[in-house]
Amino acid sequence: MSDVALNENMPNDALPRTAPKRLLGPAAWARENLFSNWWSTAITLALGYLLIRYAVSFVDWAFVNAIWTVPYNAAGQPDTSACRDNKGVGACWAIIADKHRFILFGTYPYDEHWRPLLVCALFVGLYIVSAMRRFWNWRLAVIWAVTLTVIGILMWGGVFGLSFVPQERWGGLPITLILATFGLAFAFPLAILVALGRRSQLPAIKALCVLYVELIRGVPLISLLFMASVMFPLFLPEGINIDKLLRAQIAIILFAGAYLAEVVRGGLQALPKGQYEAADALGLSYWKKTGLIILPQALRLVIPPLVNTFIGFFKDTSLVLIIGIFDLLTAGKTALIEPQWQGFGVEVYITLGLIYFMFCFAMSQYSAGLEAEFNRHRRR
């Protein structure tokens, strides 16, 4: 056995040794990372001082000195003088207490607010169900179809004794969720088809997909929304009018589709050629190969940029304000127009930011979990 003889000739220092000791615990961590030498200590202390100072003054402003309610006069108008005296010292959360229903639901008839509230709850429920992998089969398609129909009925009404609410009066969070959910639900399959088409060997299909992606990517979303809202109706024959929200929705789908298509194409290109060849050699047809071998792997590879794009588009839906659609952000801005509440924008924007953050953070957390689970097969 020649390799045994080799081992005997090894020098002594190649014998197994114990691994260097690692100090554990928060104190050891702090000593190593925060106070390792004098300038590191100085920076730690300086930053610590600033951090604590601003955290304390923020807590003072947001909680300790904040005003949570204001009195109402006989006419039902809020008396905001207390808030105005307190400006700069404490937050005036009373504007949220007074205006939250307008911010969340816009100009939707006040007595019918339970309907958009239920719609928001349905959307959140839909997201949760869609996130669960045991629903990832034909049942999910049924759940989506049923939920979206119920959402349509609740928003529009006009049947089952619900009063009819025209689209112009919809607003707030439901609009944001509708635009984002329908937008991404339709843009994603579209993107997959376009990405596959761009790699097709049929020249006409390939050219069409390249043209679509480059054309849409070449213009800002705002100009697409303008086209959808102003120019598009000019081309329609008289008497035919497509809902403004639907037009904006289509513009968002087309826009998101082009961006997502490029993300998906990146995943397709990252797959080794051998995967295609192995699937071909086994006799799988194009669609079976794509559906069973290529896409499952390609999409896993691009989860991070995919979710990045999803989050971006969730927030980009707020651009519909320029064509007069009342999404969450626009509703918040409009709430500030009222004379009594002018000047309390910070409180409203913090609240809006928190709502956006909750949805986006949930998306990114979910994607991190998904990534970990999907990439299990790469671990040894």
């Binding site: 051998g274 995967q275 071909d280 050699a281 299990r376 671990r379």
Partner: protein
């Protein structure tokens, strides 16, 4: 072709050839990679293709199930001619299994799923039946205990044996091996070669691109030597290795013998 014809008749007297290539030509751009290749492989025959790198041997067997498209000449597999007809191609791919140099297992599927995928989706076999079949072949390549793992958790030799089992699960009539041991560590080569010898003993029609001369001597009915896109010499392994006729084959043999 007389040597080949006598060999063919020795294997099976009157059956039509499993694979027939007639004056096949192929170019990559302006590079002429296959030049007037004629080859007839009888049913049950084991053919080893060897030659220096770039001689077109991989391209040759990849043309047989149309991973590469030939531009001139005719290829027919099991009596079906390869053409632009997708139905014919599907029929041929169902009958021809292939094992690649880099295994090409599907990393997102378990070993068992790798093996049952094609039987379920191409042969429309019920899942239970496909799984039983897969376990049978995994047992035959001696790794049934790995069925629940993912390819990334297996060694190279194990992965290549799974790839062989995956191809066999389609119950092909013909198996193509494209340098199946070239990407393996020396100690894993033997386990894959043993699997291939076992397969050869079942009477499977095999075309194998390999430099493993021991394997060629042990199982091949015929060795085909290719150089620069042409079949230069062919014959029984003993004749080819001990009594090469052309300078090119002599040079090649001296090089691989020096390498070993």
């Amino acid at each position: 072709m007389s040597a080949a014809e006598t060999l063919t008749s020795a294997v099976k007297a009157d059956a039509p050839p499993a694979i027939l290539l007639e004056r096949v030509n192929k170019w990559f751009g302006s590079l002429h990679v296959l030049r007037d290749v004629n080859l007839s492989v009888a049913q049950g025959e084991r053919v080893v293709v060897c030659g220096p790198s770039g001689s077109g041997k991989s391209t040759l067997i990849r043309c047989i199930n149309r991973l590469e498209e030939h531009q001139e000449g005719r290829i027919s597999v099991d009596g079906i001619e390869l053409s632009d007809d997708l139905k014919a191609l599907d029929a041929i791919r169902r009958e021809v299994g292939m094992v690649f140099q880099s295994f090409n297992l599907f990393p997102h599927l378990t070993i068992l799923e790798n093996c049952t995928l094609a039987p379920i989706w191409v042969r429309k076999m019920p899942k239970k039946e496909a799984e039983a079949l897969a376990m049978e072949y995994l047992t035959r390549v001696r790794i049934p205990e790995q069925a629940g793992k993912y390819p990334g958790q297996l060694s190279g030799g194990q992965q290549q044996r799974v790839a062989i089992a995956r191809a066999l699960c389609m119950q092909p009539k013909i198996m193509l091996f494209d340098e199946p041991t070239s990407a393996l560590d020396p100690e894993m080569i033997k386990e894959v070669l043993d699997t291939m010898v076992m397969l050869a003993d079942t009477g499977m029609t095999m075309i194998c691109v390999t430099h493993e001369m021991g394997f060629a001597r042990q199982v091949a009915d015929r060795v085909v030597f290719m150089d620069r896109g042409e079949i230069v010499e062919q014959g029984e392994p003993e004749a080819i290795f001990s009594n090469p006729q052309t300078d090119r084959l002599k040079l090649f043999l001296s090089q691989i013998l020096r390498g070993h």
